[in-house]
């Protein structure tokens, strides 16, 4: 299925990441957005507020992020694709409802244009300090998907992908942007509607009496229905059985929560995406995501000029984490270098998966601005020398 042409502004644009994200959502078929202003994400909803009345969408600025994060789920059950947009402090407020989306398997998109934290931090300046929160922020065990764009073009492309993954896996999907990528203005090419692949919602179409709302298909994802179509379903955040009825038993908990965690593993192949550059024969591999992937490039090029064999892996999907790829790579190289605008979050995952077979050098940064390439270059040098 391809995008509805009404929402697609085919052509080349010179826009920032936030605006590209809005266009990506519209192209993906998102027609409900509830949001609350917070720097540096506000531009996403501002553009949505302007565009939606012209493309059949409904936008509400809610009274707070908590309302936004659940209103979108109501809209999903009403049959729409829905998204909300925020930054660090709002992301923290939304955590309960991200868990609710995971538990009720409500497909929706949460955009976090990260800024320096903790707390109010530096509202207008970038960081990558919410990466672990994206994965573990809500209480209990569940799985989510997180994508990390590094350019306005990717803000468009990955927002479309986020909606598609949400529908495929019935999970909340986090778009982990950052202030730099969000406010960077670059060329964004929006393809024609026929060239934008959209995954429609997977609806159940069998006889009503046989419908079991939380009975999974082969890929561990159950089929949805829409409110108003006569299925008389029940959706609850309590641990539930296949009928969706609260089932407060150890068995039900084990069955349900295990599946919530496992369904991402089962679908890992089509979720995980990363870009590799000169990894074959490398001694050191720089693992990056988001804006840090761009600041790493001059450092890597300098190191290669000096004869070091440096590879570059850029994570497009950060969660689920590409465990197998990192573990396999660890057996072939000396060290990983992980520059991130935080004090070590994805670096911990790299370390975990490397299993001691390769060292992991973190190039940390409190945020507020991006790394200096020379910081990353020194880390590469140090890790080669051992």
């Amino acid at each position: 299925m391809h995008a509805d042409p009404i929402g697609v502004l085919t052509g080349a644009h010179f826009i920032d990441g936030d605006h590209a994200c809005s266009e990506g959502a519209i192209a993906a078929g998102c027609r409900f957005v509830a949001g609350y202003p917070i720097t540096p994400s506000t531009e996403v909803v501002e553009r949505i507020a302007e565009r939606f009345p012209k493309v059949g969408g409904v936008f509400l600025q809610m009274e707070d992020e908590i309302a936004s994060s659940i209103a979108i789920q109501g809209a999903v059950w009403g049959g729409k694709k829905a998204m909300t947009v925020t930054s660090g402090p709002g992301f923290s407020l939304m955590m309960e409802h991200i868990g609710f989306a995971a538990m009720t398997e409500t497909p929706c998109v949460y955009v976090n244009v990260q800024r320096a934290g903790p707390s109010t931090g530096l509202p207008t300046m970038p960081a990558q300090g919410d990466m672990m929160q994206a994965r573990w922020g809500s209480h209990g065990d569940y799985g989510i998907i997180a994508l990390s764009p590094n350019s306005p073009q990717e803000c468009f492309d990955l927002t479309v992908k986020a909606f598609n993954l949400a529908e495929q896996c019935r999970v909340p999907v986090m778009m982990m942007m950052d202030e730099c990528v969000g406010h960077m203005i670059e060329r964004v090419v929006i393809p024609s509607a026929e060239d934008i692949k959209i995954v429609p919602r997977r609806y159940y179409e069998g006889p009503k009496e046989d419908y079991r709302p939380y009975e999974p298909e082969r890929d561990l994802v159950p089929l949805m229905v829409k409110t108003g179509d006569g299925y008389r379903m029940h959706v609850t955040g309590l641990t539930h059985d296949e009928l969706g009825y609260p089932s407060m038993t150890v068995n039900a908990q084990g069955k349900l929560v295990r599946r919530l965690v496992d369904k991402l593993k089962a679908n890992a192949e089509r979720i995980i995406e990363h870009k590799e550059d000169m990894v074959e024969g490398a001694e050191v591999v720089v693992v990056t995501y988001g804006i840090s992937s761009r600041t790493a490039v001059p450092a890597i090029e300098q190191a290669r000029k000096e004869g070091f064999k440096v590879g570059h892996v850029r994570l497009v999907t950060v969660w689920p984490f590409p465990e197998r790829m990192i573990a396999e790579l660890a057996g072939r190289i000396k060290a990983f270098v992980v520059p991130e605008l935080n004090f070590g979050q994805i670096a911990l995952e790299v370390e975990r998966c490397a299993g001691g077979k390769a060292r992991v050098h973190l190039v940390s940064h409190a945020g507020g601005t991006v790394h200096q390439p020379k910081e990353i270059y020194s880390a590469i040098r140090k890790s080669v020398k051992g």
Binding site: A34, V58, Q73, G78, H97, F100, G228, V235
Partner: protein
């Protein structure tokens, strides 16, 4: 003799309520003497005679004893997070305005943690019917104080008695912009049914407060009897004052309860106002969603 004129029990009609309930989940979890089940009877009877297409009726509730209502109704129902039934219902309604969306939850859920959402939905005149069961306590979690607990009543987190002024909910709802405000007690079963019917037919934010006994926690801890004693109290101490000034209907501990339909007025609904405004401002450029267009068309026809 008298039986000759009338048929004996073979032609017993089924309980009209059962068709609306998930009988496979009975018995429910509510305590003996709790009035929630009573209000469900009223709700179901109102639905039955409302003429609504039940497939298009959705019930959204929050957390708490009253929040469990959603799970027992055989309708599209949503048991959401604590305090957030109203924003969930907002998203549901705006995605498909043809749905009749009812919020059925408790006083703590809707006015403590959910207070912010309550006032804004009323302000916007979101087309929702909100049925709030007020038992003056947080029952599910063991009887803690609520914003509706009257002064001097005892609760587990107010062991010496509550000294905070309690909310006057009809006053709050009216001042926030609700177009229909009524209060009854669980005793007033026929009035509740009638009010729910009116609220369902009414466009905009309709609010019905139902004062309800909590025998296990509120009544027991405050030594005012059980559910039955509370219901008798409601019968003997409530005064029907339709059209009363909501400023005057605050409740005191074991005091007079003023019930009635207090507010019934007209205001444009959120989605009605939205459609009209965008039509005016954007003219031909305005593209409403298919569902929005269908619903406004249906509303205009009625």
């Amino acid at each position: 003799m008298s039986e000759e004129l009338y048929e004996v029990e073979q032609s017993v009609p089924p309980n009209p309520v059962e068709e609306f309930l998930r009988m496979d989940r009975m018995p429910h979890i509510w305590c003996p003497g709790c009035g929630i089940g009573t209000t469900v009877n009223c709700f179901v009877r109102a639905l039955d005679t409302s003429g609504l297409d039940l497939d298009k009726v959705a019930v959204v509730s929050g957390i708490g004893c009253t929040g469990r209502v959603a799970g027992y109704l055989r309708l599209d129902s949503f048991h959401t997070t604590h305090g957030r039934a109203i924003p969930f219902a907002t998203g549901l309604k705006l995605a498909n305005p043809e749905l009749k969306v009812i919020v059925y939850s408790g006083d703590g859920d809707l006015t403590a943690i959910g207070g912010n959402h309550f006032i804004h939905a009323a302000r916007r005149n979101m087309d929702l019917t909100v049925i709030l069961l007020n038992n003056g306590i947080y029952g599910m979690t063991g009887g803690q104080v609520a914003p509706t607990t009257p002064i001097s009543a005892v609760a587990s987190t107010a062991p010496y008695g509550n000294f905070e002024e309690n909310f006057n909910l009809p006053y709050m709802a009216e001042s926030c912009g609700a177009v229909y405000v009524a209060r009854w007690t669980s005793f007033h079963v026929r009035h509740i049914t009638k009010s729910i019917k009116e609220a369902l037919a009414k466009k905009g934010f309709s609010f019905i407060e139902i004062v309800n006994p909590c025998p296990t926690l509120y009544s027991r801890r405050n030594k005012i009897g059980e559910g039955l004693e509370q219901m008798i109290f409601y019968r003997d101490h409530s005064e029907i004052r339709n059209g009363a000034d909501t400023k005057t209907v605050g409740m005191e501990f074991q005091g007079k309860i003023i019930v009635g339909k207090f507010v019934d007025r007209e205001r444009p609904t959120y989605h009605g106002a939205m459609m009209e405004y965008y039509q005016k401002k954007l003219g031909e450029d305005f593209v409403p969603s298919e569902e929005m267009r269908k619903s406004i068309h249906a509303e205009n026809r009625n």
